[in-house]
């Protein structure tokens, strides 16, 4: 019998948003030391590149893990529409509590996408810039990530 194989499919999406890395419970000086120019009071923005990976059995009738005709509108509704051209700190409720670092953005996007009904969301990867990228595959430590 041939070796069992594992398939995944990754789709790239883009959104542009502004954010500010800042913790209210720290002094301005501590924020500056910790977050540097990312704590600039007026915020700044990035062109985020989002990779969503789904995994699971390939349906022999369609040759697909899941239909992109379902994944694309789901990601659009859950992530792109609420994040694109927004100020993450003030317009995405979860970032009223958590600092919108790209680490936390990965976990929040994963949390929103894991309800995708047609396949398992195996990984979320975000390029904040062409030099920084972050990945999250839903490990158990992500269950609680509220800022202390």
């Amino acid at each position: 019998m041939s070796q069992p194989l594992k398939l995944s499919l990754t789709r790239r999406y883009r959104f542009s948003a502004s954010h500010r890395l800042h913790r209210d419970n720290l002094s301005e000086q501590e924020n500056l030391r910790l977050y540097g120019k990312c704590s600039n009071a007026h915020g700044h923005g990035h062109n985020y590149l989002l990779e969503v990976t789904i995994a699971g059995p390939v349906d022999p009738a369609t040759g697909m893990i899941a239909n992109l005709g379902e994944l694309d509108p789901f990601v659009e509704r859950e992530v792109i529409e609420p994040f694109d051209y927004k100020f993450l700190n003030e317009e995405v409720p979860e970032f009223a509590r958590d600092v919108p670092t790209t680490e936390n953005l990965c976990r929040e996007i994963y949390r929103r996408l894991k309800a995708f009904p047609s396949a398992r969301v195996a990984r979320v990867r975000i390029e904040e810039t062409s030099k920084n990228s972050f990945e999250y595959d839903g490990d158990s430590s992500g269950a609680a990530y509220a800022a202390p």
Partner: protein, 148 residues
């Protein structure tokens, strides 16, 4: 262990159609990919081989050998072909990214004599790719069910 990746590009035509579906169902499930005249992509294939470098050569495998395997098994079979009609290994399957990646794994895995095939990544476009790997738990979870 070291992972070595070699890239090859090929251009091919395909369309998606399941003869067991009605015309309407084909259009609904496959959208514009169902156009019977076909359409094409510039596919980019990344093949990763894992292993320990041979102390005598400092290499996991001879990349020239891998290049030749990819040319013979993939380039010669698929470049400037219509995947629905001209690639017997895909006969009876919808030539999706997932299915093509699995077929490529089956074609090249037995040819690799140094190192072990670790991953086949097939880009259909810069924003969509499938990854094929071996099922690691050995329990035979049928993630690639329908791919023989």
């Amino acid at each position: 262990m070291i992972r070595v990746t070699r890239k090859i590009e090929f251009s091919a035509a395909h369309y998606y159609h399941n003869p067991n579906f009605s015309a309407e169902e084909n259009r609904r499930v496959f959208g514009k990919c169902n156009n019977p005249h076909g359409h094409g992509h510039n596919y980019v294939l990344e093949v990763t081989v894992a292993g320990d470098p041979d102390p005598a050569t400092g290499m996991v495998l001879d990349l020239k050998e891998l290049k030749d395997i990819l040319q013979k098994e993939v380039g010669d079979r698929m470049d400037h072909r219509h995947l629905n009609y001209e690639v017997p290994e895909l006969a009876g399957q919808i030539p999706t990214c997932e299915n093509i990646a699995a077929v490529i794994w089956r074609l090249i895995e037995p040819k690799i004599t140094r190192g072990k095939l670790d991953r086949v990544r097939l880009y259909e476009s810069p924003d969509l790719f499938a990854d094929c790997t071996a099922e690691r738990n050995g329990a035979g979870a049928p993630e690639a069910r329908g791919n023989r």
